[in-house]
């Protein structure tokens, strides 16, 4: 027997231990994921809101996806004609779920998970290009349809024009616009 004594406690180098730990963690995550898919342990009903971690993860994923992909201009020259046309489209297609200034959503919308937000400050949260991107493309697993399938690009631009002026639209403005619209 010659040579230095071998350490008996450490059988593998540290990096092998790390790799093993990650492999086990990955395998566990895989098994858990498959269990969720196959065993029905996840409650898919919309009656309870998402837990805070899941709500944060999905919502943040959406925000970052839009920011990465929307591109385009960050300013918009709003025209009154387009904003007016956008109002008509908004009132007909969007207000049911998103409401408006002093305008309630349909009662059943409170049963949706995630629930559609009011959009009074949407223009502060998103650039015009991002709003266009969201309306045209919709958002998976939220109930937000891709309006690009049924509205023209010009109509979606009209909607973005209206969203830009919505923060300056009071409840009575909205009712006036609605009344004027009904006359046509």
């Amino acid at each position: 027997m010659t040579g230095a004594p071998q350490p008996t406690q450490q059988r593998w180098p540290w990096w092998v231990q790390w790799l093993l730990a990650y492999a086990v963690a990955g395998a566990l995550a895989g098994v858990c994921g498959l269990a969720v898919v196959e065993l029905g342990v996840y409650d898919v009903r919309a009656i309870r809101p998402h837990n805070a971690a899941f709500a944060w993860a999905t919502h943040t994923t959406m925000i970052h996806s839009v920011r990465l992909r929307a591109g385009g201009s960050t300013t918009l020259h709003v025209t009154p004609q387009q904003a007016k046309a956008g109002f008509a489209l908004y009132d007909a297609n969007c207000a049911l779920c998103h409401g408006g200034p002093a305008i309630s959503r349909a009662a059943w919308v409170s049963g949706m998970t995630p629930t559609p937000p009011y959009l009074v400050d949407a223009a502060d949260r998103w650039t015009p290009a991002q709003l266009h991107f969201i309306i045209a493309g919709g958002v998976k697993m939220t109930g937000m349809p891709a309006w690009g399938t049924t509205l023209s690009d010009g109509q979606i631009s009209d909607l973005v024009n209206f969203l830009e002026v919505m923060p300056y639209t009071t409840g009575s403005d909205y009712q006036r616009l609605r009344a004027a619209n009904a006359k046509h």
Binding site: P7, Q9, Q10, W14, Q17, W18, L19, L20, A21, Y22, V24, A25, R48, P49, H50, N51, A52, A53, A55, W56, H59, G99, G100, P101, A102, I103, S104, R105, A107, S110, G111, T115, P116, P117, Y118, L119, V120, D121, D124, P167, T170, G171, S172
Partner: protein
Amino acid sequence: MRTPGLGWRALAIFAGALLMAGCGQQAGAPHWKTGGDPHQGAVVIIRESCGACHVIPGVQLANGQVGPPLSHFAERTMVAGVLPNTPPNLERWLQTPQAVTPGNAMPNSGLTDTQARDVAAYLYTLR
């Protein structure tokens, strides 16, 4: 000599962090007794999308800047600047803000009496 099993310890910490991330929306003892359930109120607040217009501490994604932030709501003297901040007034405001100040931006909610009482109970936990 390296401590063996460091990877395992990191894994345990990671798993612990995941577990803790599952908890949230802890409501404290209410300031006013409304008879409502603050936990149920938090659920109603999420469902009604109140957070699209208001900052509401303890409610997921409630970061709206349309209306006033509802932090320290239990300490607030007036509701919407027109009603003394008492449970009946707050519940009335939550259900029919358009009847209290017509034309203000907050829509009527269609909340039931029970839902309004629960939401009020939650807001009174914000001190």
